[in-house]
Amino acid sequence: MIYHPRTPQEAVNLRKEHADTAVYLAGGTDDLRLGGAAEGKDLIDITGFDFNTITEKDGKVYIGALCTLQDVIESELVPAFIREAAGFCASFAKRSSATVGGNLGLRRSDSYLAAALTAADATLKSITPHGEQDKPVGEYLQSDCKRLIEYVVVDKDRTGSVKRFGNTSSSHATLIAAESGGIYALSVQGSGLVYGTTPAIAEQVTYVDDLTGSAAYKKYLAGIVFTLGR
């Protein structure tokens, strides 16, 4: 079954109504990937909505959730370290489909953007069953709410740094770290996102062994990554 909601609010309501059987479909690079979330599910097609632009207003950059990672890379409005993070999706063709909203909404522990946007103190503008709401990216990612992201809002002049560790450019990341304006964030494969105002956030993570590396390796990287030079 494919739903074609006419408004974002309708999409959110459908998602709530069919919580166990339906998923949003945007770029499809995760949902439609082998063994992805769409397998056997109904689809709520949100590709027709208009939050697919990157604009600036009052020193803030509004990144539409339906913008692709390639759109982010190509936009001079977006802070450089966030553009760099979008490039952690190594494949150009994949980046041309994968959306910002999808990358955040799936809450993958190797999300390309999660650490960078969290460190950037970015905010989500989103639709919930109760209407529009704003929420910091970090808080959203650590919750399990099913809101539909419309925009990611970030300061235009935000500066920061981001670093990825992974077996190859195309494999799942072991760890992604970002720092901006005194906010530190870590996306750790198998463990998820942590953030805070000190590099000691690395101590909050429960590290696990997996295909991307041992718990000890990840813990080591998390412990030193914020001391590395650019």
Binding site: I2, R33, S97, S169, S170, Y220
Partner: protein
């Protein structure tokens, strides 16, 4: 549903289920260039299209989303039948090889040039991140873009494509493009999947969840009742014939240790049942209805586990020898276990002892090891471990079989058409004349398609059901149900004097062949037979054992065992040089062989028989080492601005073979057609390497015909003649020599016939372009067309047909040296290959542009094996990273920053036009070169594959 969209500028109406993947719909609608290499993993990019102006993977677009859209596929790049500039440039640059996703690559680069007419290297690299190239590396893609812009701007290629060799020859040694390049890059239906009709039945294999278990019972009755199920094959209704899947000369140096289905499963993914059904969905349903009761047995996964006292036995059935049975065989067989174990049939002794899990063994040597080590000032004894590697061809293993005229016809992607025919003949119990194998274009082999992994079952399924049957591995099955590179433990003991002279060299190799003995002797043998002969050392010995285990199967892989042996032996030499305080280059130069050195060590290193002791022939080793050392500035220490990054250099000398002298055999037939053109039927199997082009060039050089008047038909067992196949680097040397012989014999026949027709003496005649015989005395000339017409005009002497058959005991060995400069971050463990230089002596490179790309491709693969690729098994033997992303296949992001291939100009005495092999050898150098460079950078010897950051940090004591 039905929808309209625009494809390649044409309004099209398509019909499919709304949630069908657009890739599948486009392919079925005839857009054959939109292929699938990864089952919608979003990795390989064979499914790349331009969708509403953007490059996207068609697997990530559902059919309904195509309504009203504008789509471009590679089919739209052609102008009539003419290639566009990018496609022409790709063929010219030598990157169209196995070419499964070459059309997608052409589309990507065409799109790029539309967006950015003069793209930078970084911009080219950026779009090529979309696509996985395994055969040719990425380096000549940059050249292709440059050539395409030149063609656009100047109407011609202006850059040098490749160096040229042998000025006296017209096309040999010159970059001319592959003769099948246009068909491949334009997306013509040239692969097996393109030959499958709509009414084909599918074959689905139910696989074992256990690494080792007896099948106690199997009930297929419910599944068989399903409408649309033609048959279900199991161990209980298929032949008892024991065979093996390695494509090797008959009798094979591999045990016949399997049936189509066994009553004991020996690895996770082993065959349990084969379902022939109308559709994949019905086959899945049927698979779910099959009730299998297993009796799990103990399993072993490593050579250490396999050799342990009391280890579970992978094979414990009756052992049979077809020749050379040991006197105590009857006693030995009294130890056989459950009858469900089956049999192990050796064609001749391979040093096996299945009661110790030993599938094969061999030992030997020259000189006096004790004396040699006693003379040494220092000795190192080290162990190196390699991992289990998958070939990852872009086209998975695939076969289509059907019955026609009472015969079994198989369309295959194979390196060994004649071995396929023989083994299918055995399995089906029908003679070879009842089987027709057609080798289609092969979308990547690298050794895995030397093994008959799917043709046996597909052929049998078609033969017993009478249905047209199609089988294709999933990408996951490629990992757990296919063949892989043998993991090996290589122990090297090496002694040397203070001046760098090696006094003794010993290798102990323990290889893991998995559950079956495909290539169990030959692959590990290569770890010694293609490494020890590099050394001019009087005292050398080897001891190799090959163990059965319950891992996914191992088999042939480009380079066979040589990359692993080279890794061990060169690393050990570097360690010894370090211990002795001798410069590594000095030690290499002091101990390597040179032309004329008699290779006594080869006596014991034949493939199941006594080896040929021969002198070193043409050898470009000195030049490769000297040039490479100059290029990488050997001895100059590089220092990074960042104190965390340390830089080091390393290199390795390498060798391989050119086929198997005394074992390989190649044949070809050249026919002068009625209009004076030539069709050459070659038994050789071109798997994208340009072998057909080599055959065509041989005809051109001999008969002076234009290339467009020469057609090569190859790999078809009905129309061609026997060839052992494309493996062991035999293609150019054996099949090329057979084509050359056929062309020379055809020339003799042409001259003899012309002498009669022209009333001239044969010795006064010769041939010249564009295809005629002329008299050196009278000046008379006769075109091939006139000659041929008269020969078949009713009163003539018949069509001129010549047969070339090539066998030899001569050995043409390619040599080379590969160099690496790496940067190592001692805090993060990151390893970057900054520079990689591959220098090889290939004799006369007949297709130099293709040769260079094969060097890039093989070196890139080898870099992947060294640093990233690793099949990981869980505690139950299940492969847990059976996809390209998790496995660690290297993409353009992993390519060295500075990557060069260079051909050392050496003419060989035996190869066609002086050619030797090119591709396999290029797999051998990266591991030791990088390993030695890492030590040079940070003082750590990395003694296992893959050399990961985590392992490096461990060695540095940081974790």
């Amino acid at each position: 549903m039905e929808l309209k969209c625009k494809i390649n500028g044409e309004e099209v109406t398509l019909r499919a289920e709304p949630t069908a993947r657009l890739r599948d719909v486009l392919y079925r609608a005839g857009y054959r260039s939109v292929r699938d290499s990864d089952d919608a993993e979003g990795f390989a990019g064979s499914d790349t299209i331009v969708f509403n102006g953007k490059l996207k993977y068609a697997n990530f677009i559902l059919f309904y989303q195509a309504e009203g859209t504008e789509i471009r596929t590679a089919e739209g790049l052609l102008n009539g039948r003419e290639l566009n500039n990018v496609q022409k440039a790709m063929v010219a640059a030598g990157i169209v090889q196995s070419a499964y996703n070459a059309p997608a690559a052409a589309l990507i680069l065409t799109w790029l040039l539309e967006q950015k007419p003069n793209p930078t290297r970084e911009e080219i690299k950026d779009v090529l991140t979309s696509i996985f190239i395994r055969d040719a590396g990425y380096e000549h893609y940059y050249l292709a873009v440059k050539l395409a812009t030149e063609l656009r701007d100047f109407g011609e290629f202006r850059s040098e494509i490749a160096p040229t060799f042998r000025p006296s020859l017209e096309v040999v040694g010159k970059p001319c493009g592959k003769i099948d390049g246009a068909a491949l890059v334009s997306g013509e239906p040239v692969f097996v999947e393109d030959k499958v009709p709509e009414n084909a039945w599918c074959l689905h294999v139910l696989r074992s969840p256990f690494a080792s278990a007896y099948i106690k019972s199997i009930d297929t009755s419910e599944a068989e009742k399903l409408p649309g199920v033609a048959a279900i094959l199991t161990a209980y209704n298929t032949p008892e014939t024991h065979y093996m899947q390695a494509g090797q000369g008959n009798p094979e140096p591999s045990p016949h240790d399997r049936r189509l289905f066994n009553r004991k499963v020996r690895h996770v993914g082993d065959r349990v049942a084969g379902i022939i059904a109308r559709t994949p969905a019905i086959a899945d349903q049927a698979a779910a209805l099959i009730k299998v009761e297993y009796e799990p047995q103990g399993a072993v996964y490593t050579v250490e586990e396999a050799m342990a006292e009391g280890a579970p036995l992978v094979h414990n059935g009756e052992v049979i020898y077809n020749a050379g049975a040991p006197a105590d065989l009857a006693e030995y067989n009294k130890l056989a276990g459950d009858e469900r174990e089956g049999k192990v049939v050796y064609q001749f002794p391979l040093g096996a002892d299945i009661h110790k899990n030993i599938a094969a063994s061999n030992k030997g040597g020259i000189g006096d090891m004790e004396k040699g080590f006693a003379e040494a000032d220092a000795i190192v004894e080290r162990t190196y471990q390699t991992s289990q590697i998958q070939h990852t061809p872009l086209e998975p293993h695939v076969c289509y079989a059907h019955i026609e005229g009472g015969r079994l016809v198989l369309n295959c992607a194979t390196q060994v058409p004649y071995h396929v025919r023989r083994i299918v003949s055995w399995v089906c119990g029908i003679p070879e004349n009842k089987i027709h194998v057609i080798k289609e274009r092969v979308g990547g082999g690298y050794g895995s398609k030397q093994d008959i992994l799917v043709e046996d079952l597909t052929g049998y399924a078609a033969w017993v059901t009478g249905k047209p049957v199609y089988y294709r591995n999933t990408r996951a099955e490629e990992f757990y149900a296919n063949s892989t590179r043998h993991p090996m433990r290589v122990k090297v003991k090496m002694g040397g004097k203070k001046d760098g002279t090696i006094t003794a060299l010993f290798m102990e190799v323990c290889a893991n062949t998995g559950p079956f003995g495909n290539h169990c002797l030959t692959v590990p043998m290569n770890s010694c037979s293609k490494t020890l002969p590099l050394f001019a050392v009087d005292n050398m010995a080897y001891d190799l054992k090959v163990f059965y285990t319950n891992t996914p199967p191992a088999g042939a892989y480009q380079g066979y065992g040589t990359p692993k042996g080279t890794y061990g032996i060169m690393m050990a030499m570097a360690e010894l040089a370090d211990k002795l305080g001798v410069d590594y280059r000095t030690m290499v130069e002091k101990n390597h062989v040179s032309e004329g050195y008699m290779l006594e060590i080869l006596k014991g290193l034949g493939e199941g028989r006594e080896g040929n002791v021969v002198p070193v022939g043409s050898c470009g080793l000195d030049e490769a080492i000297a040039k490479g050392c100059d290029m990488i500035e050997w001895g100059k220490k590089e220092v990074s601005d960042d104190p965390d990054w340390k830089i080091g250099k390393g290199f390795a000398m390498i060798m391989q073979g050119s086929g198997l002298p005394g074992l390989d055999h190649a044949e070809a037939i050249a026919k002068l057609e009625t209009d004076g053109t030539v069709i050459l039927n070659s038994g050789g199997a071109d798997l994208g390497t340009g072998l057909d082009t080599i055959s065509a060039k041989a005809v051109k050089e001999v008969l002076k015909l234009p290339m467009e008047k020469i057609t090569v038909v190859s790999g078809d067992t009905d129309s061609c003649v026997f060839d052992t196949g494309a493996y062991a680097s035999s293609g150019t040397f054996f099949s090329g020599n057979a084509s050359l012989l056929a062309a020379k014999k055809l020339k003799e026949k042409i001259l003899a016939e012309a002498a009669l027709q022209m009333n001239e003496k044969v010795e006064d005649l010769d041939v010249r372009a564009p295809g005629e015989v002329y008299s050196k005395t009278s000046g008379k000339a006769l075109t091939y067309g006139e000659l041929s017409h008269a020969a078949i005009a009713g009163d003539g002497r018949g069509q001129m047909v010549a047969h070339g058959s090539y066998v030899t005991k001569a050995s043409s060995v390619p040599y080379g040296a590969h160099f690496a400069q790496v940067a190592v971050n001692v805090r993060t463990g990151e390893i970057k290959v900054q520079k990689f230089y591959a220098l090889q002596d290939a004799g006369t490179p007949i297709n130099p542009e293709i040769a260079l790309c094969q060097m890039y491709g093989a070196a890139m693969k080898s870099i992947g094996h060294t640093l990233y690729e690793d099949m990981k098994l869980d505690e139950n033997g299940k492969c847990i990273n059976a996809n390209l992303t998790d496995y660690g296949a290297p993409m353009i992001g992993e390519a060295p920053e500075d990557f060069k291939s260079m051909l050392i100009d050496v003419n060989d005495d035996f190869g066609p036009f002086g050619a030797k092999s090119i591709s396999e050898i290029a797999c051998n150098g990266a591991a030791p070169a990088i390993g030695i460079a890492i030590h040079d950078a940070c003082g750590v010897w990395m003694r296992s594959w893959p050399m990961t950051p985590e392992k490096l940090l461990h060695e540095l004591g940081r974790i």
